[in-house]
């Protein structure tokens, strides 16, 4: 049995956990003190040696990302924290910023010092107002305590931090779209190269990192590389949040070494909903191919999940039991991608439109056998041909579900409707006498 390893979440249960006082009483900002006495290249080397990989989904080595910045030319360089947590199923950065925003602020200070940034930005999605309040307060407290601002800890290092609220767009989680959005534009991805390290915010060298990646930095600096690498697997080092949601007895945040399995996590979470069994799950959010009970023992690290045909992604484990219609689930995710496609490239904009159209008729029981093949063909027209990862991600649940549950798609065709009782999946009881009635907007139309 793998033990859980609460590091970022260690103080979440403390009285007023979000305040600077609580954070410093638990050893907070010791990492910053230590970092300010280090040589900058040594900090970058430590993060490289720790093996920390991006916790926002792509898993790119964090220290390597920092080291891609060109040599200092005297002009500004930026750190931008991606706090636009929106990948369906992902719900780890929001509690981190709500319960312990200073772990992020301290990480921002250390990272900025290491890469030579004097103005950092935290781009938080706009749909979480209390998180934004907490972040603004934490920044204000950090300034007052001398952890931000001029001459931090007497080191001569200056850092300004701006917390910026987005305005509702999943695509802004894509790092170059986020930069365009932060520049006051429509949030559409940029062609790469140049990568943000070379030409990012305002075309200056920029590091874009996820909240959890940056929040992991203080502990690595404070406790050391060996401490961090003692957790995890050979190539997936350290701890990370595993966010369990859905048909599970105790959903929530489980901070564990990478390489833990769903079987272990489910045991800690009280198992699948009473009286039910696991049908399918996402290992890393809706953009990662779905898994089934066959993958209960797959180590949840980058390599093992990849080898099993999916992606570790954001470790957003959405659990669905046998009452769930997979066609319904996939249709809804696809409508999401269609809604969130920024429209810049044709494969994604048109492809997600057609996928949603076909899936809706399949779910409603008016599709044909040929539609199932058409889904796969349409996915072929998107995968690898879209401008950014949104298009690729949109195909994951479609292709994986057709592969694993083709007979369920066929059943919708042969039965002329959905074979499932949707009320059986809900976490509350209801009678669905009116559930088939048209929605009010449709009725009014």
């Amino acid at each position: 049995m793998t033990d859980l390893t609460p590091v970022l979440s260690a103080t979440w249960g403390a009285e007023k956990s979000w305040t600077l006082d609580t954070y410093t009483n638990h050893g907070g900002y010791a990492g910053l003190t230590k970092a300010l006495a280090m040589d900058k290249p040594d900090i970058i080397a430590a993060i490289k040696d720790s093996g920390l990989r991006g916790r926002g989904g792509a898993g790119f080595p964090t220290g390597m990302k920092w080291s891609f910045l060109p040599p200092d030319d005297g002009g500004p360089r930026y750190l931008v924290v991606n706090a636009d947590e929106s990948e369906p199923g992902t719900c780890k950065d929001i509690p981190t910023m709500l319960s312990a925003p200073h772990t992020l602020i301290e990480g921002v200070a250390i990272t900025s010092f290491a890469i030579g940034c004097t103005h950092a930005f935290i781009y938080v999605r706009g749909e979480v107002v209390h998180v934004y309040r907490r972040l603004m307060k934490a920044v204000e407290e950090a300034y007052a305590a001398g952890h931000l601002g001029k001459n931090i800890h007497g080191s001569g290092f200056d850092l300004e931090v701006t917390v910026h609220a987005g305005a509702g767009a999943y695509i802004c989680g894509e790092e170059t779209a986020l930069l365009d959005s932060l520049e006051g534009r429509r949030g559409q991805p940029r062609l790469k190269p140049p990568f943000p390290a070379v030409a990012g915010l305002y075309a200056r060298p920029t590091v874009v990192n996820n909240v959890e990646s940056i929040a992991s930095v203080p502990a690595i600096i404070d406790r050391g590389v060996e401490w961090f690498t003692s957790m995890g697997t050979e190539r997936s080092k350290g701890m990370g949040f595993f966010s369990l949601s859905g048909h599970v007895k105790n959903p929530g945040q489980y901070e564990a070494p990478l390489g833990i399995t769903l079987r272990e996590l489910l045991e800690m979470a009280g198992g699948v909903r009473e009286g039910h069994e696991l049908k399918f799950w996402t290992p890393g959010g809706s953009s990662t191919p779905i898994f089934t009970a066959d993958h209960l023992d797959t180590p949840l690290d980058y390599e093992s999940v990849g080898a099993a045909g999916s992606m570790l992604g954001t470790r957003a484990l959405q659990i669905f039991d046998e009452t769930t219609c997979v066609v319904r689930a996939v249709t809804r995710w696809t409508e999401f991608y269609k809604h969130e496609s920024c429209g810049k490239c044709t494969p994604c904009r048109e492809g997600t439109f057609w996928l949603a159209l076909i899936l809706k008729r399949l779910e409603a029981g008016t599709g044909s056998e040929a539609d199932i093949q058409q889904l796969l063909d349409t996915c072929d027209s998107i995968l690898g041909r879209a401008f950014c990862a949104l298009g690729d991600g949109a195909t994951s649940c479609v292709t994986s579900s057709v592969k694993l549950f083709k007979e369920e798609y066929e059943a919708h065709v042969t039965q002329g409707g959905c074979p499932f009782d949707h009320s059986a999946s809900a976490l509350f009881d209801y009678t669905n006498d009116d559930a088939d009635a048209p929605a009010i907007e449709e009725a009014n139309a």
């Binding site: 979000w18 209390h130 934004y132 999943y170 429509r186 929530g252 999946s425």
Partner: protein, 218 residues
């Protein structure tokens, strides 16, 4: 532009503060649009013209940005933006039924506003609270683990003009305009309000505590 002098003075003062946060003026556009919503309750033609003048763009260019983002409203929004998450996880856990019942109670559908201007209803995409599914958001505050009973009770309170309280986070839901002002980056002094940490947030921590587990190397 039709803002009266007092409103315009306030807007200009706030806008100056927003613009000062960024090294490049145009970066202020998203918070400026939130600011406009805090005054007008939507991104009004006046607001667009106001922003355009400040960031040195045309009104058409500002409109092009504003229409990209779902939080910017093209028509006057209700005092309460009620959103029910109907992305896959929440929908299946009961979000579809919640949405149906809330919609029925309000008599409006997605992106529609009640005749009295009290509530605008939306189907939401994932709001990063999946461990609390099914979720409803009101003016971007969390209403976790909803049932039709809890959701309708909140809706009835809003319709009756009563204050409503989120299940996590702050002590009360502010108006759409008040919330927009916070999103423009103006603190309202409510960061320390707290409803206590929910069980899902502490789920792993509590298991670790009960097992006596600590992180490696300690």
């Amino acid at each position: 532009m039709t803002y009266d002098e007092q409103t315009l003075t306030g807007l200009n003062k706030d806008a100056t503060e927003i613009i000062a946060r960024y090294p490049v003026r145009r970066s202020a556009l998203l918070p400026l649009l939130h600011l406009v919503q805090s005054v007008d309750g939507f991104v009004s033609p006046d607001g667009i013209a106001f922003c355009a003048g400040l960031v040195e763009l045309t009104s058409a260019e500002v409109s092009a940005v504003a229409t990209f983002y779902t939080q910017y409203k093209r028509r006057p929004n209700g005092e309460y933006a009620v959103g029910v998450c109907t992305n896959t996880l929440c929908a299946i856990m009961g979000g579809d039924e919640l949405y149906r019942q809330v919609s029925e109670r309000l008599g409006i559908g997605h992106d529609e506003t009640t005749a009295d201007g009290k509530v605008t209803l939306e189907r939401l995409e994932c709001n990063a609270a999946c461990d609390y599914a099914p979720v409803m958001m009101i003016n971007w505050e969390f209403f976790d683990d909803q049932t039709p009973e809890t959701a309708l009770a909140v809706i009835d309170d809003i319709l009756a003009g009563k204050e409503v309280v989120p299940t996590r986070g702050s002590h009360k839901v502010g108006t759409f305009k008040e919330t927009s002002r916070v999103l423009a980056g103006f603190a309202d002094g409510r960061a320390d309000e707290d409803q206590g940490v929910g069980a899902p947030t502490l789920a792993g921590l509590n298991v670790a505590k009960s097992q006596g587990w600590k992180e490696a190397g300690k």
